[in-house]
């Protein structure tokens, strides 16, 4: 997202385009990141249900990975993962 200069800002900070939160990559807030271990995943969708953002990528009813553009690294998915060997663990760095 290109940040605008003050002359291009809308008066009063009003947002005039719907849905532009998509352009705001909140993943930049992350200090720790979930690492996905596919072989441990039981596709229970707990991570998808608990994720407070929309960072769990699901295809054809199956968990396939993490959208690091929006994952803030809160760790809820890793905590809630019920698999015997966790399919989500928190790691250091950009993508765990």
């Amino acid at each position: 997202m290109t940040l605008k200069g003050w002359r291009e800002s809308t008066p009063g900070g009003w947002i005039t385009e719907a849905g532009n939160a998509l352009e705001y990559k909140t993943g930049s807030w992350r200090t720790i990141a979930p690492v996905y271990i596919p072989e441990n995943c039981i596709n229970c969708m707990f991570c998808w249900a608990f994720c407070p953002d929309d960072a769990i990528i699901v295809e054809d009813g199956k968990m396939v990975g993490i959208n690091y553009d929006y994952c803030k690294g809160c760790g809820i998915c890793a905590r809630e993962c019920p698999a015997k060997n966790k399919a989500l663990v928190m790691g250091e760095g950009e993508e765990g």
Binding site: W6, R7, S9, P11, G12, G13, W14, I15, T16
Partner: protein, 394 residues
């Protein structure tokens, strides 16, 4: 056009102006000495003389919040307050300005607590000087009425879009009966026109978000743009004044210069004390003293260049503040006038007088004290004391 001459108090005149403006929403809470404005206005609502949605809120914080909500929805919104009521509104007062909502609010100036007091000084509105509102100050009932009507046009001007406070001195103006000329209802209706908001939260075809969060990456840009709106507002305020003068014959500027052109000593003053001080100027002129006066009407935006151009030739100038800043330096108006004078390179000697706190009466002799002090400074070329108080018992 025939204007009616009526005997009317400041509060009645403001309420009448509000009736003639016929705002979409008025949300208000009573507080002395403002109470009468919304009390009188509520009778207009009850009697079906206005189309206004009148919201009797539970506090001033809610009054300003409801006004912000209504204005965001595209309504012409108003409220009114004084002193502690304005203080309770505080956070939302700033939001009204930063969201660029053209709310108009009469502020009937009253001393802030404590000690608790209901009488006039300017500590309430002066405290709000950095809130981003335009401030128009009134000398008398006539000016309060005229400022109210102009305020609507200034606030809603597409290039301005800022809220406006119309300040009038508590009791001295709000409760005193004076002669004033008022316009017919339909003339005011035509002058203020239909409010067409640039955007509203109720327009489903053009969805918007009002008042979103703005963090480190964008807050500064929004504030810079807000500052620019205030920087650019002066010519629009003057345009509205010109149009109003054509209609009424009553001329308004950023300030009124009274016998200032050839003056050697002068004062800067806001509000009703200007009337008292003009009397003193006349008396001194009759004695051959070259005294003048500048009555500030528009305090926000602060007309720094225009002020220093009008005052720079004086030998000595006193800025009269009806509020103290408790900064161990000066009152609020002095600090800004002094900064403007310094920037202009003026050689005028400046002093500050704080006066009339908590409704302390300001007599001719008090203003004379100030001019006498100025005459001594003009003669000696030396400022003996910058910060002075007049009318307080030693």
């Amino acid at each position: 056009m025939v204007q009616e001459k009526v005997a009317i108090t400041g509060n009645e005149a403001v309420a009448l102006a509000m009736k003639q403006i016929n705002p979409d929403v008025v949300a208000a809470y009573p507080i002395t000495p403002q109470t009468e404005i919304v009390q009188i206005f509520s009778t207009y609502v009850s009697n079906g003389l206005v189309d206004t949605e009148f919201v009797t809120v539970e506090s001033e914080h809610s009054a300003m919040s409801a006004s912000v909500g209504a204005a965001s929805a595209g309504a012409r919104a108003m409220t009114a307050t004084s002193a502690n009521g304005l203080a309770l509104m505080w956070e939302v007062v700033y939001i009204a300005a930063s969201n660029r909502l053209p709310i108009v609010m009469p502020v009937v100036n009253r001393a802030l607590s404590g000690p608790i007091n209901i009488h006039c000084d300017h500590s309430d509105a002066m405290g709000a000087r950095d809130s981003g509102w335009i401030q128009l100050w009134s000398e008398n009932t006539q000016e309060a009425y005229d400022n109210m009507i102009q305020a609507v046009r200034i606030a809603e001007h597409p290039e301005v879009q800022l809220p406006v406070m119309v300040c009038l001195d508590g009791f001295i103006i709000s409760h005193a009966m004076e002669n004033a000329q008022v316009l017919p209802d339909e003339v005011v209706k035509e002058f203020v026109g239909e409010y067409v908001p640039q955007k509203t939260i109720l327009d489903k075809d053009n969805p918007v978000t009002a008042g979103p969060v703005a963090f480190t990456d964008s807050y500064f840009e929004f504030k810079r743009a807000q500052s620019e709106a205030m920087i650019q507002a002066k010519p629009y305020i003057l345009d509205v004044a010109k149009e109003y003068a054509k209609l009424t014959g009553r001329e308004y500027g950023l300030f009124e210069a009274y016998k200032l052109e050839d003056a050697e000593i002068g004062i800067v003053v806001l509000g009703s004390t200007a009337g008292t001080a003009k009397n003193v100027v006349d008396k001194l002129r009759a004695q051959g003293v070259k005294a003048g006066l500048l009555k500030l009407r528009v305090f926000r935006p602060f007309p720094a260049e225009e002020l220093s151009a009008a005052l720079g030739h004086l030998k000595a100038l006193a800025v009269m503040d009806r509020a103290d800043s408790f900064n161990a330096f000066s009152g609020p108006v002095y600090a800004e006038v002094a900064a403007a004078m310094y920037d202009s390179g003026a050689q005028t000697k400046l002093i500050n007088y704080i006066y009339g706190l908590g409704g302390r009466d300001v007599g001719l002799e008090d203003v004379e004290t100030v001019y006498n002090h100025l005459a001594r400074i003009a003669e000696s070329g030396k400022v003996d004391q910058r910060l002075n108080y007049v009318g307080v018992r030693e």
